[in-house]
């Protein structure tokens, strides 16, 4: 039929539970492979600065002398390049996205 093509779908969904979730009240289910926030493990890091050199957005800063590792969360695009090249596996991407960054401050570790 040419008219009311949509009515079957509309009526069916009127009686089905919606697939959406009440987001801020129900947290989003993280998918296993999702690229979320960058996580830094201080213990194994040798401050070799490879991650800072290779970061495509320049979000990372490493000071070898003072043994400081810093990230600008607003610049980080969660691409995972640093995780791939870190020789000591001190970096990892968690599946959760964390709370959004609102300032340009660097986070020091």
């Amino acid at each position: 039929m040419g008219y009311f093509e949509m009515s079957k779908l509309a009526l069916k969904w009127a009686l089905t539970k919606p697939p959406t979730s009440r987001y801020p009240f129900e947290p989003r289910r993280a998918l296993a492979g999702s690229r979320g926030q960058l996580v830094f493990t201080k213990d194994s890091c040798v401050y070799c600065t490879v991650c800072a050199k290779k970061c495509p957005t320049g979000a990372l800063l490493v000071n070898r002398a003072q043994k400081k590792w810093a990230i600008d969360r607003l610049r980080c695009i969660s691409c995972g390049y640093c995780v791939e090249i870190c020789p000591k596996k001190s970096l990892d991407l968690s599946t959760s996205h964390g709370s959004p960054a609102v300032t340009r401050d660097r986070e020091f570790h």
């Binding site: 949509m6 009515s7 509309a10 009526l11 969904w13 009127a14 089905t16 919606p18 959406t20």
Partner: protein
């Protein structure tokens, strides 16, 4: 019940019922679209918020027209529920719509200007059928008074099935729902932004919302009139019609004004006029 009490109930209850209907509308629409939708009372929250907003107008007089639109819509419903002359009701309804259009013209924005033009075309589309409805009711009950029509002994819809269907068609236009939301769509996602109401904000927009609540209750009251001899059936059918309007809203694309006008006139001519012709021939 005296007509004064009915009038009073209408004035107080209509915005509440209208607002709740709007809330259900959004809820049911959302479910049909596989969403959850807002709380039932969202329309009231919206109006409260609009009322608190800063008023920004292009021309101050545009809000004056909206005030008159609201008053005339209330007046239309008041005449109707007080049991007055149906022709007078139609006249007041048209006048209200004209004030709405004038308000949009006054804002001199190209969006609301074309929205107003489209609204005039829509009025041309539904006006014949509304008049035919009144005439059909007169032919059955021999009176134009809502009071007499409501107290008629038989179900009007049995004598006027075509007119009833035609009236449902115009109802789609009056509710400004898809496929006839071309002068002002609910979601402001059209080439005219929000068409006729684009330039209204704050309290003026709140008044427009309240006017629509009154208008919708009045229109459903008219649906009830077709089933007035059996009140329960009347209320049930009115609510069913409302759900049908929501369903139609969700299963149609917006038509262009040419199609809308043509189809409305064809419906008026075939269903409305045909029904009345049959009635007069049977006599």
């Amino acid at each position: 019940m005296s007509s004064w009490i009915r009038l009073l109930i209408y004035l107080i209850a209509a915005p509440v019922v209208g607002g709740l209907l709007a809330g259900w509308d959004r809820r049911i629409s959302a479910r049909m679209q596989s969403r959850r939708g807002p709380p039932i009372f969202q329309p009231f929250y919206d109006v409260r918020k609009l009322w608190q907003k800063q008023s920004i107008v292009v021309r101050r007089s545009q809000n004056f027209y909206i005030l008159f639109f609201l008053l005339l819509v209330i007046f239309t419903g008041a005449l109707f529920f007080a049991g007055s002359d149906l022709l007078l009701v139609i006249f007041a309804l048209t006048l209200a719509a004209i004030f709405f259009v004038l308000g949009a013209y006054k804002a001199s924005s190209p969006y609301s200007f074309i929205g107003a033009e489209r609204e005039l075309i829509l009025m041309m589309a539904y006006e014949p059928m509304i008049l035919l409805t009144a005439i059909g009711m007169y032919m059955v009950t021999k009176s134009f008074y809502v009071h007499d029509i409501a107290s008629h002994a038989t179900l009007l819809v049995l004598a006027l099935p075509g007119v009833f269907l035609g009236f449902l068609y115009t109802l789609e236009i009056k509710f400004r729902k898809s496929p006839f939301d071309l002068s002002s769509s609910h979601h402001a996602h059209q080439e005219l932004v929000r068409g006729i109401t684009t330039e209204f904000s704050g309290r003026a927009l709140a008044l427009v919302e309240i006017a629509h609540w009154y208008e919708n209750v009045f229109l459903l009251g008219w649906v009830y009139l077709f089933f007035a001899s059996s009140p329960l059936l009347g209320v049930a059918v009115s609510l069913l019609v409302f759900v049908l309007v929501i369903l139609t809203d969700n299963v149609f694309a917006r038509l262009k004004w040419q199609t809308a006008l043509r189809s409305a006139w064809v419906v008026a001519a075939v269903l409305g006029f045909g029904n009345i012709l049959v009635l007069s021939l049977l006599r």
